[in-house]
């Protein structure tokens, strides 16, 4: 029988796992780490699981370092593992926040051993991006877990560091590893590895240095973000606007005033002061009703939501609005900034517009629109069947869009305006009649507005779903506890694009009614 290993012979390898996304350069980082180990006097072994995960999925690289000196002493080769064992990982490097979460879920991060180095930026997964409303996973629980369950957590936005240094995230992660002190290897060796690599050496070293600094600067957990006090808004020059703002202070509960001011700003921008006045009339009337219905006990949450949703609906996106926004100077400046415009980099912009005959009708006064409802509309339809590319930065394109934007002047006479206004009135009337008897249900009604958004088919779909919910409300709204059911229907309406969830929810609702 072999003698049991003598205690001094027990040298364990240093173990590192790298969690990355396909295309993030995890392989480069792993190769750097191998070289780092070798230069620092270790036998380095690394493996990875490639496969289809290389295409944007989660990938994992695993390394072990074993001292060459110990190998020489023992005169034998060490047996190194090819995959991490939970509880036995010294360093976990995650190139994205949720990948750090995944490492923790796999049990790779343990409080007694693991230094967790993670970039806290987010690369959203497809499920988070494709939800019809908010689908993003909250980062706070992962950060909290990282703090609580690692031996040491080094976390900051390394993607930002990489951008600042003009390089890629692997250089920032490498710097964070050096700065963390998790490996008994001097900074100079890290830098030597980057130099040896020979590619983008300057940018990589710069990014590396920034990350080292960031990782070695102790950061106190920052105080919870508090919205900065609103910058002293310039006092309105126009007396009519000043009058509107005064009305807000007089007629709208405190909680909803910021939203109401934004609403007024939006409607002036969308149309004019008169339109903002109309908005405030509607809002103030319901604010009064809400207060009478005991709104103060509810902290006036309904009015605040209504202030925002009403403003959004009243400033619906039409051709005029889009053309207006597309031609503004602020937009040109923003795009120039995003695209890095410079004297040696000229930026031009092309829009993808697709006015259909429906939108043309909607943009005309009812009388003219009716003309197009018949045969002439059918004749003209082919003209509007194709998408149009408009070069906004060209003179012709800009002037065309600016002309369209001027159409704002007859907006209040268009078919679309009349249709939206009627729908808004119907919605507000439902809220008003519901408020005295059921605050929660009235609030749900307010929230239903969020279904209506987007353009073209998306907008049509949203409007149909909103109408379906209103029809349900008209039928069943008196039923006890209907607020919860309406909320469920609204969530179902936002759950998917095809409407499967809503159809199911409506059917369940029917079943309830027939039982009830």
């Amino acid at each position: 029988m072999n003698a049991p290993p003598a205690p001094e012979a027990i040298v364990r390898p240093i173990t590192l796992a790298i969690m990355a996304l396909g295309g993030q350069g995890g392989g480069v980082l792993a190769e750097w780490c191998v070289r780092l180990g070798e230069l620092a006097g270790y036998r380095a072994q690394y493996t990875s699981v490639a496969g289809v995960a290389q295409r944007t999925g989660s990938t994992i690289y695993y390394l072990e370092f074993f001292p060459e000196a110990a190998i020489a002493r023992a005169g034998r080769e060490p047996v190194l593992a090819l995959m991490p064992v939970p509880g036995d990982v010294d360093v976990v490097i995650a190139a994205e926040l949720m990948e750090a979460g995944r490492a923790m879920l796999r049990g790779l991060v343990t409080p007694d051993r693991t230094t967790l180095i993670a970039s806290t930026h987010r690369v959203y997964a497809i499920s988070e991006k494709s939800a019809p409303a908010e689908g993003r996973a909250p980062g706070a629980p992962v950060l909290e877990a990282a703090q609580a369950h690692s031996r040491r957590f080094v976390g900051f936005d390394m993607e930002a560091t990489a951008q600042q240094g003009g390089s890629v995230i692997s250089a920032a992660l490498f710097g964070a590893l050096a700065g963390s002190g998790a490996l008994p290897i001097a900074r100079g060796v890290f830098e030597e590895v980057i130099r040896e690599g020979g590619k983008a050496v300057e940018a990589n070293l710069r990014t590396f240095a920034l990350a080292v600094t960031e990782a070695t600067t102790p950061t106190e957990p920052s105080a919870p973000a508090i919205d900065p006090p609103p910058a002293a808004a310039p006092a309105p020059r126009d007396p009519a606007v000043a009058a509107l703002l005064a009305r807000i202070d007089g007629e709208i509960p405190f909680r909803a005033r910021a939203s109401a001011r934004e609403g007024v700003r939006r409607l002036i921008d969308w149309q004019d002061v008169a339109q903002a006045g109309r908005y405030l009339d509607r809002l103030a009337a319901l604010a009064k009703a809400e207060d009478e219905a005991g709104g103060s006990r509810q902290n006036h949450v309904l009015v605040d939501e209504l202030a925002r949703n009403l403003a959004l609906w009243m400033s619906f996106e039409d051709v005029f609005r889009v053309a207006d926004l597309k031609t503004r100077a602020e937009r040109f400046t923003r795009i120039d900034g995003e695209m890095g415009a410079a004297p040696a980099r000229l930026v031009t912009v092309t829009e993808f517009m697709h006015p259909r005959i429906d939108e043309v009708r909607d943009s005309l006064p009812e009388v003219l629109a009716q003309l197009l409802d018949g045969a002439p509309g059918r004749w003209l339809a082919p003209l509007f069947a194709k998408g149009r590319r408009i070069a906004t930065t060209s003179l012709a394109g800009f002037l065309l869009l600016r002309l369209l934007a001027q159409g704002r002047r007859w907006r209040r006479r268009t078919r679309r305006y009349a249709r939206e206004e009627a729908a808004i009135d119907g919605w507000l009337a439902r809220i008003a009649t519901t408020l005295p008897r059921n605050y929660a249900l009235a609030r749900e009604l307010v929230r239903c507005q969020r279904l209506v958004k987007g353009y073209g088919d998306t907008h049509a779909r949203g409007s149909d779903r909103f109408a379906a919910l209103m029809a349900r409300f008209d039928r069943d709204g008196q039923a006890p506890g209907y607020a919860a059911r309406l909320a469920a229907l609204r969530q179902a309406a936002l759950a998917d694009e095809e409407g499967t969830a809503l159809a199911r929810a409506l059917a369940e609702d029917d079943a309830l009614v027939s039982q009830g």
Partner: protein, 712 residues
């Protein structure tokens, strides 16, 4: 040209005796082949063995110096058939492919090869795509070895062992006139390590010698009565010869202690996991020295009865660590012990999982359970196990989103699926028979298109049954990789011959993209050692299809239109749409450096990028549901009135144009814009920009002044 170049690394293949080789597993295998004196090598790419083929392609020059022929085989069957060269002649050869899918395709040739047997050493290198990262059905290559009687090598996962197994594998093959199979697990393929090299060997008997002096042995051909004779030879001659060789050369290893109440039998590939488990239990040191006896099966088929009996005879219990199912080895060992009347408990999948990868944790847990039951005294020696990880983690399981693989940035396959999704909204849902390749990502969100996939190049055959009179036709998908792999005959030929009335969409991106961008017959680029530029349309027409449309895949509206036409035309017979656009990953790899170089030289270059206007985006994300491009993501809504995140295009947009085309085709929303960035503009460009800027700026300033009146 493949995604990854090994041009620099292959120079390591020239290392001679005594020099230290440091590199990846696949490179080490290649070096071992050269050291074994092979005369020919071939294969078909696929994870985890793709890089082996890339290495071979990049090493052609070095191999040519040694008189070695390399074939980029059309598929795994073609690769396996290449081993026919070793039947009559003392030529060593090897082929490589992924398993089990590749072995499935190859099995006709493998059966024929194994039946007649070989004269020269014949080696099949299979990359076992099992466990984490795998994209295929979880089956074992072991079954193929057993059914055809091919010896199966499963070396310990370190480079010296792998290299030794390659070299001895050829000798074993020759000693037993039987092909051998070298099983390389995923992590072994990508394993970075080192070994001491030997000189490369130029085969004494070359391909030329065989061609100029052909030998015929008709009794090696599978035809009665020889086929019956082969079966007898297998068990009477070849099997015992193999057993003798394996024993004499100690291909299996007895490691650890020499005696003790319990022991471990392990597949070579899992040895390191067993050692790590022993280390964690405090029963082994870093060098794998342990008092627990280990019988390491570097040859997992056939088993050596005498070795098994010898190992188990003095033990109360052995733990058998065998990954995957069925438990072929466990059944075999049980039979051996039973027949030899050895009273030793055999513990295998009783304490280790029946299915799934044997990770470090799985093996460690199994070992603990085994020791607790059969050697509690040993267990006590180990001291405390490392604390269980994550036992009191806050519940983030519901927070961390799944991250499925998906189409790359700017991928030209995405618009095809956008068009299909849009068409199904118009004409209703249709059945889609998918294939193998990047395009199979269509089954994942956001597209969720596809009903079945039956194998590489079998998309069209997979819809063969759906030929009833119906209101809706059926669609088959296939990539150019699948088309040339198998689809020409099994797909197009089948459809034409059977008057299939379905619609086939062939995605022609110029490469076998999913396996790493290897060239195929229809690749547009010239290849220095193969012929390319054979259009798919020509092949399809040549097979007898009359309704063939070639189109640019990025033109979503056009793709939808052609698809609609194919789905609704009264024309009977197969309808083939070939959607073409180069794989963006490969295109960027080629063009990006050129673009950068031109710009830094001061040449005028126009770059396109897409963007989303935050003011007009309402945050419903229908664009994302129709695209799924990694650069199309979401960010906080800057509008104080809204909460939903808005769409956002990141800086790494490559300007493929799909966003604009989709916005048009789907009548989505006007928020997308395309920015053209002109680098190093000419004097004329600048003059135009100045003029426009002046006029537009003047008008914008007027509008801004008007708005400022009401501002607060």
């Amino acid at each position: 040209m493949a995604e990854r170049s090994f041009a620099k690394e292959v120079q390591k293949l020239r290392l001679g005796k005594g020099e230290t080789f440091a590199g990846e597993g696949i490179l080490a295998v290649t070096k071992a082949l050269l050291q074994s004196g092979i005369a020919y090598v071939g294969g078909y790419q696929g994870s985890p063995i793709s890089h082996l083929l890339d290495v071979l392609a990049d090493a052609q020059e070095i191999m040519a110096e040694l008189g070695i022929r390399f074939e980029a085989s059309a598929n795994e069957a073609a690769a396996a058939a290449m081993l026919a060269a070793s039947v009559n002649y003392p030529l060593r050869g090897a082929v490589a492919f992924k398993s089990v899918v590749g072995t499935n395709v190859a099995s006709d040739a493998l059966s024929n090869l194994a039946s007649g047997g070989v004269t020269g050493g014949a080696m099949v290198i299979v990359g076992e795509d099992y466990g984490e990262g795998s994209s295929i059905m979880q089956e074992r290559a072991h079954a193929f070895a057993m059914k055809s009687q091919i010896w199966l090598l499963d070396p310990r996962p370190n480079l010296p062992s792998i290299v030794r197994m390659v070299e001895q594998g050829f000798e074993l093959s020759e000693a037993s006139n039987t092909p051998v199979m070298l099983e390389l697990r995923v992590r072994s393929c990508h394993l970075y390590g080192r070994f001491e090299a030997s000189d490369n060997v130029r085969p004494a008997f070359g391909l030329k010698d065989a061609m100029e002096a052909p030998r015929r042995q008709t009794d090696r051909i599978v035809l009665p009565p020889a086929n019956f004779q082969h079966e007898v030879e297998k068990v009477r001659d070849r099997w015992p010869a193999a057993i003798d060789f394996i024993r004499q050369h100690r291909m299996n290893e007895f490691l650890g202690g020499h005696s003790g109440p319990v022991g471990i039998i392990v597949q070579g590939g899992l040895y390191n996991n067993v050692v790590r488990a022993l280390q964690l239990a405090g029963l082994a040191d870093a060098f794998g020295q342990t008092e627990v006896p280990i019988y390491c099966l570097n040859v997992t088929y056939p088993l050596i009865d005498s070795e098994v009996v010898g190992f188990c005879a003095d033990k109360r219990a052995v733990l058998l660590v065998e990954e995957g199912q069925p438990d072929f080895i466990e059944q075999n060992v049980a039979r051996i012990l039973r027949q030899a009347k050895v009273d030793c408990a055999l513990v295998g999948k009783e304490m280790l999982p029946l299915a799934g990868e044997y990770t470090g944790k799985v093996v460690s847990d199994g070992l603990q359970a085994f020791l607790a039951a059969h050697a509690p005294a040993l267990l006590g020696k180990g001291g405390a196990r490392p604390p269980e990880a994550g036992s009191n983690l806050p519940d983030i399981a519901g927070v961390v989103p799944a991250r499925p693989a998906g189409f790359c940035t700017g991928c030209p396959e995405r618009p095809v699926f956008t068009a299909m999704k849009l068409l199904s909204r118009e004409i209703g849902e249709f059945h889609v028979s998918s294939d193998i390749g990047c395009h199979l990502f269509s089954i994942l969100p956001p597209f969720s298109i596809g009903n079945t996939t039956m194998g590489y190049g079998l998309g069209m055959a997979g819809m063969a049954a759906f030929q009833a009179p119906a209101k809706q036709r059926t669609v088959a998908l296939m990539g150019d990789g699948g088309f040339w792999h198998n689809g020409v005959a099994s797909g197009v030929g089948h459809m034409v011959f059977n008057r299939n009335d379905g619609v086939a969409v062939i995605i022609d991106n110029g490469y076998a993209a999913a396996t790493g961008g290897q060239d195929v017959l229809s690749s547009r680029a010239a290849n220095r050692s193969r012929t390319t530029q054979h259009p798919i349309a020509k092949a399809v027409r040549g097979m007898g299809v009359e309704w063939v449309k070639e189109l640019r895949s990025y033109d979503v509206a056009h793709v939808r239109e052609r698809l609609r036409e194919a789905m609704t035309t009264p024309v009977k017979g197969p309808k083939v749409i070939i959607a073409q656009s180069e794989c963006m990953l490969n295109r960027q790899r080629r063009e990006k450096p050129l673009f950068k170089a031109a710009v830094s030289k001061g040449e005028r270059r126009v770059q396109e990028r897409f963007g989303v206007d935050p003011e007009t985006c309402t945050g419903d994300h229908s664009c994302i549901r129709l695209s799924g491009c990694p650069t199309l993501t979401v960010r906080d809504n800057p509008d104080p009135l809204r909460d939903e995140p808005i769409a956002h295009v990141q800086n790494d947009c490559v300007g493929c144009g799909n966003c604009g085309e989709t916005a048009h085709a789907a009548v989505l929303c006007p928020s997308f814009y395309r920015a053209e960035i002109t680098h190093n503009p000419t004097v004329w460009d600048r003059a135009k920009a100045r003029l426009r800027g002046a006029v537009i700026g003047w008008l914008q300033a007027r509008d801004a002044r008007r708005r400022a009146r009401w501002a607060f």
